[in-house]
Symmetry: C2
């Protein structure tokens, strides 16, 4: 029985820490310990009631398969949402997916064969790495540094990563895990390389609505030069605090790519009808809703940064977007520290959980003392969590 | 712009006819023509109200990511459903997926690397073929024949298909598109080969509850000899007429395989929470519910077979399970005939749509005059649809 083989690609895959700790936490919570979760991009903000209100109204006798592209009212609603950002898409350029994750899967499979390459920044969102292993895609990392706010290097440096196997760039702006919002300079460079070497740009903009300090919003989708090269990855999860409603989508003006993506989507017939009915209402929400979220998260960001700066030896750049930050801690082994915080540390019955940098880095050297902190809790909880982190670091160092 | 390349695997994929006609139909229905849909496995039976009743009760403030394995109440409910069939699974041997389709994706990816082989009968469920192309798996078909009720050939014939690249068999019992219910002889042969050559058995049993004529139910999952080799593919869609609720699952006692499947599932964090809450109630339904469905489909099967036998030149074997049949029509080109029925034929403003055999066959020669008929409509509609098919064939032949 022992000889049965599972695939090499499956063996290469890992449980990202953002997933791995879940089992552990359940055990720990059973002991009555309270854990502040700064490790997951799971906001504590209520899902807009419009979602469940629409769902409760469903009175179809038969819950049927629906259009693999997504139900038309949802695609219309998304088109309307885009107009707020001066992005002009037609409903037949939108493909609804089961969250942003399925969107990544289908994009990798449509653009790449086994061994083809996609260039990404290092650090990068952990799910890209696992999907790449599953689909046989090689991610080629371009190093970026905390001290430089994770700015992309000069065009010439990125250009050196391009080979005859390169098919695309994948970028996430505002970024998870970095909070980086790419500037015009960076986007110009990527676009010029995409044009020069005939590459696609996979632009994951699920955090589009979370850009702080009145910073200008720049989307690859708004650029005419690369209109045929851009594939937008989108999701309802973050912007509407609706992670459990698995609704994301892809948007592209490239018809050949769209047809390819659709063929992938047809293999699963359709995604949840009920979730789609709810999501129609989310994408229709007034801009006021998103502005209120933005204010809330900007305050949270300010709070967490202020509190973290009180800790000796912590290095961080204030991020410009999303709701994650990558922080350097005054320790040698972030994973060991996190285990300590979970298993050995407690203050008044409480502890805090963050994600090790290793989840996001190709370069292990750079990752060792880095953790990702997701500021998805209300400000008082963030203050308490940062305090626990400070006390935890003190206890850890005096072990 | 024209030079951008999408992947070869994407180019190899096709739109299965079960999907392709949808666009066409919408156009045709706009003209006021009524179409009887015998082309899709989409039953007209009401989804049990328990599903939406549970959904309407959801009062979570935040719709959160849930366990990638599936919420515990759903896995418990599934374990309970299995007990009705004397199948003994633990909740940690169940992985909830977005329909049976995602289950197929994850299984292929977990068992196979690029170029690895899975043996399947010809004809086969069309979605397997497209997922195989997307994941780089080579399906190796074993021919079966309408005249023999699609019985698997002798063990020695199947054995010849095994190479050092072979990783698994995939079988669907009761079968889509054939309605075949595998006998003990066939299952013994497959199991012996699996043991002898160390292969997995992917057993797609989504139609388990639809076995007619009091025929005995045999599951690969009930066999002790291959307990470690079996991966069950399951779905709520067919048995509970809940296709639009995208809830399927995998069940396996092989821990290494389970871990591999789970790593795939972790890349999408979780599936729809709302659908899972509804599905908890479906798998709890009394056996009476499923027995009533079985009676209904058995009557439908009898009706459609009786009506089809009235048509000159039609060849069919009465299927023992599922709700599809593969029928030989007295024509040379099923696809051309189907186009004719859609575009050129009408009787009192009505026509009928079936699926061409080409959607399911590797051997094009065998497929040319075959169509799949899904008896998913009530008996009076099936009678009318069969009548329209007869009249359509007459009109087509006298063109």
């Amino acid at each position: 029985m022992e000889e049965l083989k599972i695939s090499a690609r499956s063996k290469k895959m890992i449980q990202p820490a953002i997933v791995k700790y879940n089992g552990l936490i359940r055990e720990i919570e059973k002991t009555g310990k309270k854990v502040y979760f700064l490790n997951l991009g799971q906001p504590d903000i209520a899902t807009p009631p419009a979602f469940m209100e629409a769902v409760r109204q469903i009175d179809d006798d038969v819950l049927m398969y629906v259009d693999p592209k997504g139900i038309i009212p949802l695609r219309q609603s998304i088109v309307g949402y885009f107009k707020n950002y001066d992005l002009d898409y037609d409903i037949d350029e939108i493909l609804v997916t089961m969250g942003g994750s399925e969107a990544i899967w289908y994009t990798f499979l449509t653009l790449c064969d086994e061994g083809d390459e996609i260039i990404c920044p290092d650090p990068v969102y952990s799910i890209y790495r696992e999907v790449a292993k599953a689909t046989g895609v090689k991610l080629v990392p371009v190093e970026t540094y905390a001290e430089e706010g994770f700015e992309l290097p000069a065009k010439e440096v990125i250009e050196k990563c391009i080979t005859d196997k390169t098919r695309a760039f994948i970028l996430n702006t505002p970024g998870n895990p970095t909070g980086r919002v790419y500037t015009k300079r960076e986007m110009d460079d990527i676009s010029q390389l995409a044009l020069q070497y005939d590459l696609f740009i996979i632009s994951d903009e699920v955090y589009r609505d979370f850009i702080y300090d009145g910073e200008e919003f720049l989307s690859f989708a708004a650029r005419e030069d690369v209109a045929e090269k851009v594939i937008l990855v989108e999701s309802a999860s973050k912007r509407f605090s609706a992670c459990g409603a698995r609704v994301g989508f892809l948007a592209t003006k490239n018809k050949e790519v769209y047809e390819g993506l659709l063929k992938m989507a047809q293999t699963r017939l359709s995604i949840s009808y009920v979730d789609q009915v709810g999501a129609v209402e989310l994408f229709k929400l007034e801009q006021d809703y998103l502005r209120a979220q933005l204010d809330e998260y900007e305050n949270r960001r300010d709070t967490i940064c202020e509190e973290l700066r009180k800790i000796d030896g912590v290095v961080l750049e204030t991020p410009k977007g999303a709701f994650h930050l990558l922080v350097k801690l005054p320790i040698d082994d972030a994973e060991d520290f996190i285990q300590f915080m979970l298993n050995d540390f407690t203050l008044d019955g409480e502890t805090v959980l963050v994600t090790p940098g290793a989840d996001f880095y190709f370069n292990e050297e750079l990752s060792k003392n880095m953790v990702r902190i997701s500021y998805v809790l209300k400000q008082e909880d963030l203050k308490r969590a940062a305090f626990l982190l400070r006390k935890g670091l003190e206890a850890y160092k005096s072990k």
